[in-house]
């Protein structure tokens, strides 16, 4: 009883996040969702029919255990079996044809001039690069994909290490990231919202903590976000932030991270130029608050054992300055 209650609670907890393949926000997810419902409905109907016939046979068999087995009964039996086989074939064929149709319509979504977003899977975070013909308008961020509502997105994926899988069920099906082998698909968000996504292919110790967000905004809001993200980080505004920047540049942080506008430009870890504008830390593991940021900077191995980020030995004044600086990176 308690287990059932706990199970229900877990299921309901899943509803709070927008990570659902039956609540589509784009045309492809809608087709996948329709197919899901069709398969569920067909499967349920067949199951109920078969169970009904089975119960009827049990009930009837008990009544007329010694029923006559003549040529008439044989003919009836043959008709029933032939009818059932025909129904099965029709149902399976219809499913096959519908399945093919959905598969084709998912693939047939290409459009020249779509906004190209290149996503690179790392153990265990997502690197996001917006491609633009003008090189200075290319943008790199991490774990958060902003898209304009109603515009087609060309999604190019690649992996830096092992196989990952990109899955934002409200928008599209899964797309595998195979090392050394790029993948492409298209999707479109038709209504604004924050959609969760996660890695759907086991990729190592912290596979479970490799989430991302797709944030669909109206086009003008997206454009404002894009322009804001393109800007280099603002210089430190006060002495605390200044000290924080020195800590960042003088300690281990600079070995892996980029903050545009400073000498830090290593590409091993996520780009932190606008860290404070993001909603989560550590690929969706933690909400982006000062406390969580402090815990993550000081001892990431407690939160994500095996992650590449090492523990950092910082004096408390250094840590506070660093947090102040990182939180100023809007």
């Amino acid at each position: 009883m308690r287990a059932a209650a706990a199970g229900t609670a877990l299921l309901l907890a899943g509803c709070g996040r927008e990570l659902s393949s039956v609540n589509p926000a784009g045309p492809q997810a809608e087709r996948i969702s329709d197919l899901t419902w069709y398969l569920t409905a067909t499967g349920t109907a067949v199951f109920l029919a078969v169970t009904g016939f089975l119960l009827y046979a049990v009930w009837r068999g008990r009544r007329r255990a010694e029923s006559a087995a003549g040529p008439a009964a044989e003919r009836t039996l043959t008709r029933w079996v032939a009818g059932s086989v025909a129904a099965t074939v029709v149902i399976l064929l219809a499913t096959l044809v519908y399945n093919f149709y959905v598969g084709r319509s998912l693939a047939d979504f290409a459009e020249p001039g779509a906004l190209t977003v290149r996503v690179t899977g790392h153990q265990w975070w997502w690197e996001v690069q917006y491609q633009d013909p003008v090189y200075s308008r290319r943008l790199t961020t991490a774990n958060e994909i902003h898209v304009p509502v109603g515009r087609r997105i060309r999604l190019e994926v690649q992996s830096a290490d092992v196989i990952h899988s990109f899955w934002a069920p409200n928008l599209h099906g899964k797309l595998d990231l195979i090392p050394g082998y790029g993948g492409t698909t298209y999707f479109r968000a038709d209504r604004p919202g924050v959609y969760h996504g996660r890695c759907a292919e086991f990729c190592g110790l912290q596979h479970a903590k490799m989430d991302f967000l797709v944030i669909a905004d109206p086009p003008e809001r997206f454009a404002a976000w894009y322009d804001q993200q393109l800007r280099a980080a603002a210089p430190p505004a006060d002495s605390v932030q200044q000290k924080g920047q020195q800590v960042f540049l003088g300690k281990g942080c600079v070995m892996c991270h980029t903050i545009r506008g400073t000498p830090a430009n290593s590409r091993v870890g996520p780009d932190l130029t606008h860290l404070a504008s993001r909603r989560t830390l550590a690929a969706g593991s933690l909400p982006n608050t000062r406390g969580h940021l402090a815990g993550w900077v000081v001892d990431p191995q407690k939160i994500k054992p095996g992650a590449r980020m090492p523990p950092n030995q910082l004096a408390s004044d250094e840590l506070h300055a660093l947090l102040g600086y990182l939180q100023s990176l809007k």
């Binding site: 290490d161 092992v162 090392p179 050394g180 003088g250 300690k251 281990g252 600079v254 070995m255 892996c256 091993v268 000081v298 001892d299 191995q301 407690k302 054992p305 095996g306 590449r308 090492p310 523990p311 950092n312 030995q313 910082l314």
Partner: protein, 177 residues
Amino acid sequence: MLPTAGSMRVLVPLAVALALAGCEREKRSHRDSPPGATASTAVQTTELQAGPKTTDPSVGAYQENRWAVSQGETFYIQYNCAGCHAPGGGGGMGPPLNDDEWIYGSDPENVFDTIVEGRPNGMPSFRGRIDNAQLWMLVAYVRSMSGLTPRDTWSARTDHMKEIRPERQPRPQRQLP
């Protein structure tokens, strides 16, 4: 001849012990240098010699661990050691690491100090930039390139789906003129 009960009593625990010993090869630990651990102490580098060795009790665990060597390889690429020493340690702007010539000593502690303190003629100091656990993994990988770590720590395939490189084959000692 069937094994007797007496011999089984010896053989079975022996087999189990042997199998368990294999587990150590890839043992992973993620919090070996918790926040607040002391950084290594300074060593003298004025002369072209190894200088006094740093001491760290955790050194041994990394030098014989297959996972540490593999992690070290990742850091070797990511921290751009390969920029000067070449991927696979063939050398370039910096001296090769996959031969058996060691200017500043080949012990784990010597290699550690070389990375932490830097060395004359171009090797920068990484003091405070890389934490101790990662440093020891780097040391394990660097030493594995010339075959100084146990053979079972070398792998034909890394964890990271990269191509197999012709490394870890100690070259014959060069004759100095």
